[in-house]
């Protein structure tokens, strides 16, 4: 295979390194330094895809981020990625790509039938039809439409690549390494400022790589290379290519995506595929340049029609001809540069210039080179289906309304230049209200909103000298403010050709009797006629037009279509462009890989995992874990072939008959110190706290200010001004913040300090009738008798040389203790408990057995304290002090909270004493009542009572107080269950609470 469209010489590619690649199964060759687009064009491949709606043939339109057409499915290192722009993808050895959105092939695409139906498919057609019969939208039409849309194919394989994040601070962030970026970076760097210079392309230099200019007696490219080389050597400068600043967020935070490995056949070991930089910059210089605008004409989406700047870039950077018989269609001098470049390479272009009689240096040069120029001429329509083969051209009247006789001339490409649109995305994202600049028919940034300064072409400045001058000055001035240094740099001599005024012309009128589609948005197939329909139907705001027609909503986000769309609306509505308005740009500037945005927090690392100090023991002893927030807790310890139900029953039973041990490290623990600690507790909890003696624990309930229960737990008075609070696992962090809020914001006069000690203490609950005996073994030197350490008592103790705290508290309802030791000693404590507990048949128990134990005791937990219940509902109203005020008390007198038939916690037992009651079921009076069936309450927690060997549940039931003894039905329609039940007290086991005191 030869690269028929590759020039013998020239370009910035490495001709010594030939690369092979496949496109649609066919092998081609290119060079290192090519993009997939340049390599394909070099090989004469001009048809790469199909359009979104009409499936019209698509070639290449640009040479970079603005590309609306050349979207491919990429295959790299056994992975595939959809929707890669061929104009951005650098070529590597072995690259494979395929066309998207076509079937069976890009050459013969069935979907192209839409192209013939297009008169029936104008903007918004789907709003007007597909409504009959009613069920057909979802069943027939929609699946069909979905199938036709969608570009590439997403792989469902897990992404094996790595993405990294990096946080940086700098004095100046400069986005874009064209002339303005280089000049400002250089000046700022010389002043000692910390500079980050970002370039989204592989090569630095921007427009200097393709323009015929001279700076300081060097070519633009050489000057750029010199500056970059110098910047790279400076310690205060970071220079990054393949790095796009895509988002300008609040407080001068910018985000940049660096493509670290996408240009390589595979990612190197320990390297990320992409890296996301969060950069907090003191000053931001936006030197993002400009994008050429198309001129709109008939069939302007035919492959071979492309931006003239792209044609020039393919020539100068890649040594590739986009055609051998080019037509240049321009309204300004830029087209001439492209034509001259063709001519220099032995190709004879024809220039059609919409202007009547423009005069400038470059036009003279073109004339002198013998290039054929037709003034006041336009392309009326491109001819050819899969590739341009000729153009219908005509003379246009001076008022640009009438076309002369149509002539047809042969050509194989049409290079279009409709002047330049500054790339103002970053300024707009910063909050800058952009303004319309008449002279260039485009928007430029207005007053800076954050610390952003827009330079050069991005600011609508299109002469090199002015760009360089203003950029040097900006770099110098802004850095001087930060570093207080003022190194003067001598300004280089600049030679450039001065352009003449562009023609305010952007759309070729339709010739009489012709109905060519004139496209504005090339990817979404939005034509001039679509906008006309939208306006005719009253969709007149630009937002309505965009949404109705989908103009600018494609993956190129309207980079080449937005402004022409605005022009069209302003023409039809007879308004000036700024009155039509324009969309505010939102990040990202170009689509950013979701993997890069997320970074390393994937898979097992998507959230942290917290483990108790005894975790490895649990693992070794067949614990099956359960997620409790970010904690992992043993749910049960599997013996033999036991299932969850059997194991938890065994464990719970053992607690009721012998002794069990449960890891309670995850409970929140807060250390509270200070002379006003008791007063704080008294305000935070609903019950009284001022008289709790030292060495005693108390159970407390805290409310939110809206009266809803927030959390419960015990707090122990360790010493005069020192308390130890426990919270539920789930609320630990919230309770701490809650206390801090009241101490710092509401009651700063209270002299109290609070700090989390959750991670400092390992905790084991030892529960069961034999727990005291075990404790005696564990703490032979401490008095743990019922008198020495009564219920709700506390003592400090020593566990074989290790400092320990013993709390006589119980969640299981049995005689129980909680032992805390410093975390490092957790494993030691646990092993001692197991070792010395052998003679008492000690067994570890998990959260499932813990649930069983607490449920049959009627102790509430998270499933009852669900953020909707009050103390009364959960039978905690006995803990509400009438004598004092506390957080949330004032809310308790509200109508709903005091109403007589308020819901309350009850126990539920199936009448057959056999059928387990699924959690999340509801209680109803009549199981056969028509829907909606009135729900009286719900089952909050269920267990198999080990005490009575039958199912038992807790429920929150309307008027629960008066329902004891009633017969109701539990319904779980999801599980197809109706269970007749009796309502009993929630305190199913040991209702008098004798065991805990025994």
């Amino acid at each position: 295979m030869t690269q028929k469209f590759r020039l013998e010489n020239g370009g910035l590619i490495n001709r010594d390194k030939k690369l092979s690649f496949k496109f649609n199964g066919k092998t081609h060759y290119g060079y290192e330094g090519d993009t997939l687009a340049s390599a394909l064009i070099a090989n004469g491949v001009h048809l790469v895809g199909r359009s979104f709606k009409y499936h019209r043939p698509r070639g290449f339109f640009g040479a970079g981020v603005d590309e609306p057409y050349a979207i491919v499915q990429l295959y790299r290192n056994n992975e595939t990625e959809p929707n890669i722009k061929a104009t951005e993808q650098e070529l590597f050895e072995g690259l494979e790509a395929k066309s998207v959105n076509c079937w069976p092939s890009v050459n013969f695409d069935i979907g192209a039938i839409n192209n013939f139906l297009k008169i029936f498919l104008p903007a918004g057609f789907y709003y007007k039809t597909f409504m009959w019969p009613k069920s057909f939208w979802y069943r027939i039409y929609e699946p069909f439409i979905r199938k036709a849309a969608g570009l590439g194919v997403a792989s469902t394989k897990h992404d094996k690549e790595r993405y990294e994040h990096k946080y940086e601070y700098c004095d100046l962030l400069i986005a874009g390494s064209g002339p303005s970026g280089l000049a400002s970076a250089y000046a700022a760097a010389k002043n000692g400022a910390r500079v980050i210079l970002a370039e989204d392309k592989p090569r630095f230099g921007g427009s200097l790589l393709t323009s015929d200019v001279n700076i300081g007696n060097q070519s633009g490219e050489d000057w750029a290379n010199g500056i970059i080389a110098e910047l790279k050597e400076m310690p205060n400068v970071v220079v990054k290519n393949r790095s796009q600043v895509f988002g300008y967020y609040d407080h001068n935070m910018l985000v940049m995506s660096e493509k670290v490995s996408d240009h390589l056949p595979k990612t190197k070991k320990h390297h990320p595929k992409q890296r996301l930089w969060y950069i907090r910059a003191k000053e931001v210089l936006i030197s993002s340049g400009s994008i050429e605008r198309p001129i709109v004409f008939g069939n302007n989406d035919t492959p071979g029609v492309m931006l003239s700047s792209a044609a020039k870039e393919y020539l100068k950077v890649y040594g590739v001809l986009v055609g051998k018989n080019p037509l240049v269609f321009t309204n300004n001098d830029s087209g001439y540069e492209t034509a001259i470049e063709f001519k220099k390479n032995g190709i004879n272009p024809i220039i059609l210039d919409t202007r009547v009689n423009p005069q400038s240096e470059i036009i003279d040069e073109a004339i002198n080179l013998g290039i054929k120029i037709k003034f006041s001429y336009v392309v009326v329509a491109a001819q050819g289906y899969k590739k341009v083969c000729s153009a219908d051209i005509a003379k246009i009247s001076d008022n640009k309304k009438q076309l002369g006789t149509i002539e047809n001339i042969k050509c194989d490409c049409i290079c279009v230049s409709g002047f330049w649109t500054p790339t103002i995305h970053l300024a707009s994202q910063s909050g800058n209200k952009t303004k319309f600049k008449e002279e260039i028919d485009a928007f430029v940034p207005g007053t800076s909103k954050q610390n952003e300064t827009t330079l050069g072409a991005a600011n609508g400045i299109f002469t090199l000298e002015e760009t360089l001058k203003s950029s040097f000055t900006a770099g110098q001035d802004l850095s001087k403010k930060i570093t207080n240094k003022d190194n003067k740099i001598s300004f280089p001599n600049v030679v450039e050709k001065i352009s003449s005024q562009h023609d305010k012309f952007w759309c070729v009128p339709l010739p009489k009797g012709k109905n060519y589609k004139r496209f504005l948005d090339f990817q979404n197939d939005v034509a001039v006629s679509d906008i006309e329909i939208a306006l005719k139907e009253g969709y007149r705001s630009i937002e309505h037009v965009k949404r109705y027609t989908t103009l600018g909503m494609a993956t190129d986000q309207g980079k080449t279509s937005n402004l022409n769309g605005l022009q069209l609306v302003s023409d039809i509505e007879n308004k000036v462009v700024p009155a039509v308005g324009h969309t505010t740009f939102r990040p990202p500037y170009t689509p950013i890989s979701i993997g890069a945005i997320v970074g390393r927090e994937v898979g097992k690392h998507s959230k942290p995992t917290r483990k108790s100090p005894m975790h490895s023991w649990h693992e070794k002893n067949n614990a099956v874990f359960v997620d409790a927030g970010v904690w992992l807790r043993p749910r049960y310890y599997k013996q033999g072939n036991e299932n969850l139900f059997e194991a938890s029953k065994r464990e719970a039973k053992n607690v009721r008959t012998n002794v069990g041990v449960c890891d309670v490290t995850t409970l929140g623990k807060i250390d509270i110190k200070g002379p006003d600690a008791a007063e704080l507790l008294n305000r935070v909890y609903t019950n009284a706290w001022l008289k709790l003696p030292v060495g005693k624990a108390r159970y407390g309930v805290m409310l939110r200010e809206d009266g809803i229960v927030m959390d419960d737990g015990t707090t122990t008075r360790i010493s005069e001004n020192h308390y130890h609070m426990t919270t539920t696992t789930a609320q630990a962090a919230n309770v701490l913040s809650h206390l801090e809020y009241y101490l710092q914001v509401v009651w700063p006069e209270l002299n109290v300090n609070v700090v989390s000690t959750t991670e400092q203490w390992a905790g084991a609950a030892i529960a069961g009738p034999k727990s005291r005996k075990l404790l005696e073994k564990l703490f032979p030197n401490n008095d743990v008798s019922n008198e020495g350490l009564p219920f709700m008592g506390y003592t400090e103790a020593e566990l074989f040389g290790v400092k320990a705290r013993i709390f006589r508290i119980s969640f299981s309802g049995e005689l129980a203790y909680e032992v805390n030791v410093e975390s490092d000693n957790g494993q030691f404590m646990w092993e001692k408990i197991i070792e010395l507990g052998q003679e008492f048949q000690v067994q570890p128990y998990g959260t499932e057995a813990l649930s069983t134990l607490r449920i049959e005791m009627g102790h509430v937990a998270g499933s009852e304290l669900d953020g909707r219940t009050i103390s009364y509902d959960t039978s905690l109203e006995g803990l509400i002090s009438k004598k004092k005020d506390f957080i949330g008390k004032r809310s308790l007198n509200r109508e709903a909270f005091t109403s007589g038939d308020r819901q309350k916690i009850v126990g539920v037992v199936p009448l057959d004493k056999k059928t387990s009651i699924p959690e999340g079921s509801h209680l109803v009076k009549d199981a056969k009542a028509p829907l909606p069936n009135k729900k009286l309450g719900h089952i909050s927690a269920s267990c198999w009572s080990v005490e009575y060997d039958n199912p038992f549940s807790l429920a929150i039931l309307k008027d629960g107080k008066n329902m004891i003894g009633e017969k109701l039905f539990v319904m779980s329609p999801l599980k197809n269950k109706v269970i007749p039940v009796e309502i009993v007290s929630s305190h199913y086991v040991d209702p008098k609470g004798e065991r805990v005191r025994s």
Binding site: E705, D706, E740, Y741, V745, P748, D885, F886, S891
Partner: protein
């Protein structure tokens, strides 16, 4: 990402902080007789101003101090930050 000046620690990124809502809402004093309306205004009703908004943030992953931040809710510009008990002259 906002950049918030903690009066204790200096400029820090927003991800070190957690938000705490309108700082102009004052909790009624304990044990004080107040009307239902006053209580509802404390618990539920918020002006939620567009523009300058005095709000609480906690430097959660830092010094854990609650601070007051004066921020524009339309532009996110931060005008000033204060310690929780600092008097603010308007």
């Amino acid at each position: 990402m906002l950049h918030i000046k903690c009066p204790y620690c200096g400029m820090r990124s927003q991800n070190e902080f957690s938000y705490g809502g309108d700082a102009s809402v004052k909790r009624p004093e304990l044990n004080k007789e107040i009307s239902d309306e006053e209580w509802d205004n404390f618990v539920y009703n918020r002006k939620s101003l567009r523009g300058k908004h005095l709000e609480l943030w906690q430097h959660l992953s830092g010094c854990r101090q609650w601070i007051k931040v004066e921020r524009d809710t339309a532009t996110h510009e931060i005008f000033n930050t204060y310690k929780a008990d600092e008097e603010i002259s308007q």
